[in-house]
Amino acid sequence: MAKPELKTNQKTQVEDRSSLKGTLASVFLLGLFIIVSWVSVYYLFVDRF
């Protein structure tokens, strides 16, 4: 009974080791920065004659 449990524990640990969730969060922050900058200058373009 205890044996399979131990196995699952090990597996989640290995998964955490190779996880790239921080990378995904980082690139999305980067994407957000690009969008905010672009939209700001687009707003200037629309606002000006």
Binding site: D16, R17, L20, G22, T23, A25, V27, S37, L44
Partner: protein
Amino acid sequence: MINVTAAKIKVDPRDAKLSMAHFFVAFTALALGGLMGLLQTLVRSGKFELPFGIGYYQVLTVHGVLMGLVLTTFFIMGFQYAAVSRTAGTHSNAARRTGWIGFWLMTIGTLMSATMVLLNEATVLYTFYAPLQAHWIFYLGLTFVVIGSWIDGAAQIMTYAKWRKNNPGQPSPLLSFMAVINTVMWIVATLGVAATVLFQLLPWSLGLVETVDVLVSRTLFWYFGHPLVYFWLLPAYMCWYAIIPKIIGGKIFSDSLARLSFILFLLFSIPVGFHHQLTEPGIDPVWKFIQVILTFMVVIPSLMTAFSLFATFERYGRSKGATGLFGWLKVLPWNDARFIVPFIGMVSFIPAGAGGIINASNQMDQVVHNTIWVTGHFHLTAATSVVLTFFGISYWLVPHLTGRKLTKAMNKLGIIQAWVWFIGMAFMSGAMHFQGLLGGPRRSSFSTYGNSQQALEWIPYQIAQAVGGTILFLGIILVLIIFINLAFFAPKGEEEFPVGEAENLSEKAPMVFENWKLWLGITAALILFAYTVPFIDIIQNAPPGSKGFKTW
């Protein structure tokens, strides 16, 4: 394979000598060009004037030529020559001789052009737009620099070809592959500038022809001008992809994806020059927009790069037991100049890249075109991301080549240098971006434009640029101290030339990546697609040509 790599840990001293020759020219250019940059920011603050009747625009020409053309080209050629020697094996005598011929041609060309600039015969800025007409020796010097760089690059290609011949069916070493991609892109791109200089500007400045077609010349220049900035960037990407992982003790996230991104750069860096000409007459707006679309394609490999780099850092951090969403950031080697100096460069590429997308967004260019925003933009891309990475590379490469060690003191000074640079650039580039959005023009000496209210509002930003420029000049002094120390005075020893290994060694890079006929074919097809129709248009509908002007 692995044994062969292990045997080639050190760059051969004969190759090291040629690389170092490049670096001496590059760092001399940095010293002089940096001083010119300082003078410019001081003059434009309105608080200082140049002595001895020296002109602002002459200083600006020297700064642009030395930093944009000399420092970059010489550093890149020296670095790539060493990287190929390290990863594909020592250059043959023939390749080395070729490299030296290229180096001397570039150096002679630089001296010729520099002399004309110093004599005030070529105050045309580093873009030398016709019909401003410089002395013919200036153009001939530039021709020598370009042809010299081709010969210099040929040395890398020869050694790469030799490796391929000796290792049939094997993907070439990553760094060599990347160096050759960049060299090939450079050769294809410089065909444009060579064409305008050889067939238009030289005969015209010699008086053999009376007039020049301005728009043809500008179009050929910008065919070269955009891949030029990628020629600066790709060596930094080489360091980020293939060297930084080894420095931090991690692995390259994916060898194949790194190669793919470099191939995308080769394909999409060139057919995009119109995005520098978006507000120009004489070019059909539809073709401008087509090249805008192609410009956006070249964003994709940078998006891939961002992911790969974060992934390399996160994988390494988690292997050291880091947890949580961002815990891996803490375990990175923050005290290693070889890592943190390029890392600051990487971070700077986030605002730099965002600005680049804005510049290329067709009519949005009208908000920023030829304002000092653009200067702020390329001082983030070239003068921070690229140059800080070059500094970071030289901190291990110079001692590696000279048989010395990066000492603890120099390592610390290197880290201080990078932060000084970062702070100086935050002031200077930041102020440039904001002043540009208010309409402040680039490439202009101090002026209140008849006490215009708008121009008076720009002055505080110009003072901030002078503060930033002064801090940056301190940064240049620091980097020169480190370079001279590592080249001549650091203790003898062995400094590693770090070369990363892929995370998944069993995954061989697809051989199609080495199929040059295919990639050069697609490159040519894209260029022909983007340029043939508008170029024929420009020539067929050309106005009467322009005589030369010397307005300085």
